[in-house]
Symmetry: C4
Amino acid sequence: MAIFNNKNKDERELGFGTKNYNSRVRFLSPDGSINVHRAGLGIGNIDIYHWLITTSKLNLILVIILGYITINFAFAGVYFFIGPEFFGGLDSYEPFQQFMNLFFFSAQTITTLGYGHIYPIGNAASIAAAVESLLGLLSFALATGILYGRFSRPKAHLLFSKNLLISPYKTGKAIMFRIANPKQYELIETEAGFTITLNNPETKKREFLNLKLEISRVNFLPLSWTIVHPLNEESPLFGLSKKELLERDAEFIILIKAVNDTYSQTVYSRKSYKPEEMIEDVKFKPLVPEVDKRGRLRLTVTDIHHYDVVN
Amino acid sequence: MAIFNNKNKDERELGFGTKNYNSRVRFLSPDGSINVHRAGLGIGNIDIYHWLITTSKLNLILVIILGYITINFAFAGVYFFIGPEFFGGLDSYEPFQQFMNLFFFSAQTITTLGYGHIYPIGNAASIAAAVESLLGLLSFALATGILYGRFSRPKAHLLFSKNLLISPYKTGKAIMFRIANPKQYELIETEAGFTITLNNPETKKREFLNLKLEISRVNFLPLSWTIVHPLNEESPLFGLSKKELLERDAEFIILIKAVNDTYSQTVYSRKSYKPEEMIEDVKFKPLVPEVDKRGRLRLTVTDIHHYDVVN
Amino acid sequence: MAIFNNKNKDERELGFGTKNYNSRVRFLSPDGSINVHRAGLGIGNIDIYHWLITTSKLNLILVIILGYITINFAFAGVYFFIGPEFFGGLDSYEPFQQFMNLFFFSAQTITTLGYGHIYPIGNAASIAAAVESLLGLLSFALATGILYGRFSRPKAHLLFSKNLLISPYKTGKAIMFRIANPKQYELIETEAGFTITLNNPETKKREFLNLKLEISRVNFLPLSWTIVHPLNEESPLFGLSKKELLERDAEFIILIKAVNDTYSQTVYSRKSYKPEEMIEDVKFKPLVPEVDKRGRLRLTVTDIHHYDVVN
Amino acid sequence: MAIFNNKNKDERELGFGTKNYNSRVRFLSPDGSINVHRAGLGIGNIDIYHWLITTSKLNLILVIILGYITINFAFAGVYFFIGPEFFGGLDSYEPFQQFMNLFFFSAQTITTLGYGHIYPIGNAASIAAAVESLLGLLSFALATGILYGRFSRPKAHLLFSKNLLISPYKTGKAIMFRIANPKQYELIETEAGFTITLNNPETKKREFLNLKLEISRVNFLPLSWTIVHPLNEESPLFGLSKKELLERDAEFIILIKAVNDTYSQTVYSRKSYKPEEMIEDVKFKPLVPEVDKRGRLRLTVTDIHHYDVVN
């Protein structure tokens, strides 16, 4: 790549802009998430539903537990302020225990459990309890929506090979990576897009170039798929060396689009490779699925990472 | 635009019809909502679910609270009509307080709270309570659906630059505006359509013309995207002046289509600019994202409004 | 149409097959539903969720009420069989009233209301109540799903003009009909397909022919859209008369596809016209939206039916 | 097929790879499910939501019942450990019966039924009950999501004819099969893809070849659709015999894509035929829908299997 293969450049507008960013910033994290933080609108940048849908399970459980404690604490305070004498069955004259019992009464009210061994007496206490039970139902409706939203979110947990390979291909070479669907659901109509972004020392700009694939679409993805960009004269990377890609701070960006046919949802999966993750003069070990006892082809998906050295 | 550039007109059927409407009516509100009220079918024009999904949070909360009070009031009336003597635990011989206690009993029934310190005696009271609790469950099912529907509604809260700019472009000029996605979710496969509608003084009709974009599609939208219509000889607006656009009551109509990849939903965003919002002889200030402490590119989305004067 | 315009036939496979059906059977009902009953698999033809989602509100309410009564009746029977003495608070020694009270206890259990003035004593009664409350929660989960499914179902309640018109068009004639969206939500990217099916007396077969539209797609549909098939030499119906269409038992089939942008759902609307609904030598009355007090264009959607006689 | 019709091969990348698998393994099961088991990630291969959505009704009911018993057993254990003296209304001094009553108390708590004849006394018991009722609400939210997910899952229960037929077609022959939609919902925009996979004895590889269809798309599918691959000179199977297909372990793979217009969902249906299921010198019996009492066309969908012998 001493001479950058300009005549074959198919510059692609990816939406990142073409400014010459400080190098050493990765556009996509290795897991495919876009490495950008958008600010400027304060809380207007935050979409609370998005956060609840995409945060970790642990975070969600913490939010639910803390929310439950806080709201019961708040209502226990309201009930205590109204007066413990307006609640039947409290069974205590000690203020702390009265507060605790009102806390439990609140929990029994917000979940619409309502044992009734503690119950409101008089209008103020009854109104507060009526408000809390409505709030409980609505919170529960929200929780139902959030749990369903998390569960039914489009999924494409694709497994990508750890490395990009430069392998022999026909009479020349090609850049290759492999993907597999590790899950039980099927992906169909799978399409791949392959792009490179790298600095152009002449224009001092960052360029985004489309890399043509041998095959860019498969109908099914039951086993694995080796995605191949031939390094022939049509490639903008013809004559590339790994060293030059490192110098130009290149980043390979992959977008996979497929249909998850259990839910008929179009799903997207992104991946980024840096030149450090490229290996030269190797080729992928063929995957040979065995036939298992039940007569099915058995694929060990983690085998997609394996490669052999080529002499 | 003394001579309207007829040979390059790509008249576009947008669905607004081509009647010469009373001028000074905006087709789209600045926020992108279509400025049309459809009547003629009475309540047949109203889709209650649509209203509940799209109305403001405040309206929804008011509807829920008023509905809750009304329905409890109605059932309290039914219970009072059946007779306070058919309810155990009412603890009062004063009619107003009896009614209030039946109101609270209704609230405890419709939320399926059921403390039980007040309870129905006899068939009429028990049947009414059985009906109310079923109604409560179904109302709650509806509320769950509505809250989920609001939360999971496709979202494309795009930020558009406040102004349309006429900026230098190559050897001539171009109309430009900028968009950014202010939220945490990613938009992919973003497409833009750009149209102008304006009066034609010769035909006395309103015309809708397609304005060709330099690039009409980007794969990602992590930062901002400047959308450019070159004012070259191919443009129907070649030779335009802001004054003429004002006279012809022009309106620029933009439709952005993208995929929100958290939900794999295709989302749409509309925007309208009037010539009053155009600024000549300026250009957008470049957006230079910084790298923040966590190694991410940081974009201040509100910077998309900024421009510099061009000499 | 004395000579059937064979050279322009663009025969279209609609999926109805091309057998010469007994004439006088309409393929589509006037409301667009397909007039076919599929049998042969017994209850395997029935999709219960589909029925619950698409049946009338009245049917759904009846199913819910009857289901509620039936299930409470059944559980009351179980409880009565276990023995009224195993229930505290029954307050009656009269078997019918005991049964009624167990019926109310069942209603309080299945809705998880649980006042507790009636309560199970002993293992058999407690187990039955535990089963019923689980069943209640699951039924309610189903009801939530069904109500949400009904509410969120894709909607395209298009209004079609009552008649197909044969109107003057340029130097000749055209078949026209008009559609409008009567609802508050917006339809975008609206596409129309127009087909005719009619008997061919020569081949004794039923033919399906595509009718080309002047414009088959609009970006928005805020007002109305007049859909036009020009009866020029390219039309397979060039030279048609209403009388011949009646003799050949023609049926016009329309499929409209649009995106409801509140939900980003692709929605479909079908419509069928018979030659009896065609009117010759008329043209649609132009729709002139007024500007209402709030500055919006106001369209009376039912005006799309109106036409004027042409001399 | 003595000479394999190489010049017309349109080799198709289906995503199965092109290795020469042990023959006698079917890629698709007769019901269309892909006959592959993916392993290598341990429980990382398992998607619990997918399993709950796609498992049989019986499995789901078993999971719910066992889960309900287990969780109540666990909480009964916790309550018993806290001490039966901390629960009012237990009405027993016998440990086993105390445990049983705590089991029923647990069931009344997790369903938020809360009769209240048994109730917690003191902080430990009240906290445990507050936790259980929250857990109950969340479990119920999950159950709602799973039941809705199962119900609303995209469906295309297509019926395929039992056999692939080699039938006379124009002046030659064609491979044909028939499909029908047995359900009440309508399928529109139905598309078919037809592929064959077979061993190539020369290259020792498995090939995937696209088989061109006479018509590959229909707008509606109210009745049946006969899908036809003409065995003309353009077909890679021109000159085929059933015997050779058997020797090469051929498998016909069909992918049908359609829109279920009740839910506007794109749905997929797969089917595989082996040469053993081919019948030569027959043709499908025409399906003649009758008109039923309500004026609808009546189709017996199971008639799609029937064929007549051709002389």
